[in-house]
């Protein structure tokens, strides 16, 4: 197990380096950064001066090393737009995004897994139909539309929940539901399919033949095996939610990191975009790593491979 974790950790670090290099190169792929910085009316001399000031005239690998070393210390440079350190800018926004992401995935898992299990225990029953309906609806409803409907019903008509902002936990209820419901269908379908497959396997019959009560058969013997692919999926979705909740953040005016990324792209604020890409990628890497460790704990066969 320890060896497995070490191996995965090494792999994760390699991926992290690759991603950091790619996100650094974006600066150059997007055109001459000095020209972009100087603006359209700048003279050639101004651009040259800026190029030297920001160090763009140095060899690329030197710039990368410099940038990476700073980034590791939490220094992502200065935002072109805000003229403030990027790290501070992102840090404020990240707590909002992370709160939303964690709540969203929790909501998705807490609805999808029980529904998926219930649907698999009684296929084609009413509960299975309801679960199918909810998942099809979740896949078909665009987040922005579903979010606005919630605002109309619960904020405007009923006045139960605040429509926007981040002041209290009540502000997070609707965003959580919208974001979580987006991830729910896939998790639910995968749980159901996994459970159905596992329930027809020989070792479930063995468990019953031992005289195990049905609840124990379902949760101890079946779910542990069925949940393995769900863990991997949830990790990817969690990464997605932390980086890609731009739509939800805009609807509910939660000024999180996703929203900042979207704004910064429009403003050509490259240091901010770079830093955000790196951080979002790190989330993916960390969650995939955690999912691998969790799966290895769930499935002993994975540890030895």
């Amino acid at each position: 197990m320890f060896q497995f974790i070490l191996k995965r950790l090494g792999l994760a670090i390699l991926v992290a380096f690759t991603v950091s290099f790619i996100s650094f190169s974006l600066l150059f792929l997007a055109g001459d950064p000095a020209a972009a910085l100087a603006g359209e009316t700048a003279s050639g001399e101004d651009i040259e001066a800026l190029r030297h000031l920001y160090g763009f005239d140095r060899p690329m690998m030197v710039q990368y090393g410099d940038w990476l070393f700073s980034a590791l210390r939490g220094d992502f440079g200065e935002s072109y737009y805000f003229k403030l350190p990027v790290a501070g800018l992102i840090f404020d926004r990240l707590s909002i995004t992370m709160t939303l992401g964690v709540c969203g995935i929790a909501f998705a898992l807490l609805t999808a897994v029980p529904l998926g299990v219930a649907a698999a225990i009684r296929p084609n029953s009413l509960i299975d139909r309801i679960a199918l309906f909810l998942s099809v609806a979740g896949q078909a409803l665009p987040s922005f539309w579903f979010g606005l409907i919630l605002v109309v019903v619960f904020s405007i008509k009923l006045g139960w929940l605040p429509p926007s902002g981040t002041a209290t936990w009540r502000h997070f209820i609707m965003p959580t539901i919208v974001l979580g419901y987006y991830a729910m269908p896939a998790i639910m379908r995968l749980t159901r399919a996994g459970m159905l497959e596992v329930l027809s396997s020989d070792y479930i019959r063995t468990a019953r033949a031992k005289g195990a009560p049905e609840m124990r058969v379902m949760f101890k013997h079946a779910l542990r095996n069925a949940i393995i692919p769900v863990v991997s999926l949830a990790a990817v979705q969690m990464g997605f939610m932390l980086g890609g909740s731009i739509v939800v953040e805009s609807i509910f005016a939660l000024h999180g990191a996703g929203y900042l990324a979207w704004e910064s792209i429009g403003r050509n604020d490259l240091p901010t975009v770079q830093a955000l890409i790196l951080i979002f990628a790190m989330f993916y890497i960390v969650f995939t790593f955690l999912a691998d460790v969790l799966n290895a704990w769930l499935d002993p066969r994975m540890r030895s491979s």
Binding site: D202, Y203, A207, A209, K210, G211, A212, D299, P300, S304
Partner: protein, 333 residues
Amino acid sequence: MADRLLTVRDLVIDIPVGGGTLHAVRGIDFELDRGEVLCIVGESGSGKSLTSLALMGLLGKRIKPRATQMDFDGTALLSASKKTMRSLRGARMSMIFQEPMTSLNPAYTIGDQLMEAMLLHRDVPRAEARARAVELLEKVGITAAESRLGQYPHQLSGGLRQRVMIAMALMCGPELIIADEPTTALDVTIQAQILRLLVDLVREMGMAMILITHDLGVVARVADKVAVMYAGELVETGPAKEIFEAPMHPYTRGLLRCIPLPGKTKRGSELGTIPGIVPSLVGRVSGCVFRTRCTFATEACRGDIPRHLRGPQAFRCVLDDGGLSQEKQEVQA
């Protein structure tokens, strides 16, 4: 009278399929005394496994078996509550399955799965269940039993897994073991070894066993009683000795010609085959199901088939000698 453990009267298993009903098992009767070994033989699809699953109450929600009587030591299995059935399964009646490779849960250690069988039924501390697991692993011939407890199924070979399955079935000291082709999925080299082990343990612990197999060589060695199944019916039952020495039903005789038996099959003689295939059991089934493959079949075989008793032996055929005299004439001619 011997101590009766299991009585089955007129067991019927119908399976709903696409366009009708599959009459998989139709009115079979047998009984088993304590300490007896009953072998159920027959081809694939003859209903052997279904019968054993029905005894264990493991047929699933979709299939409802019926019987006029199906008693295990005074408990009517078909009308027993789920709770009663659970308390019997794994404790007083255990089952060993055909597929050792997939019958153990990949996520738990051998030790956990062995101990579970005991902890579910007996109020004993884990240490005691653990000790029992080690004892049984040693009994089924697994070396370094103590360290095996922490291993996972994927770390064991098929033969070892089946030994673990046997040990698991024995954890609570059951009175009845049902073994459904326990060696079919194993390498030929260890089949005999595992079977010998199973039979020795059953004899040693005084358990009754239903051994389902299509290997008549095995039956000849271990059975007290034999039940021959064909397409969902018991065509012949009786003590092993009588069945092997004087098989009455044409199907039983055909089966016996298909295998070489020491002392019975002449050296150099050709082994027999039974031509044809098992008929479909979907829809109405009447008359003798073997008539499509039987050399003695006549119009009468479409009607009701009487049951003949010859001492402890019973068989179903329109001919009261199962066509034996006709067969002898043919051989002479």
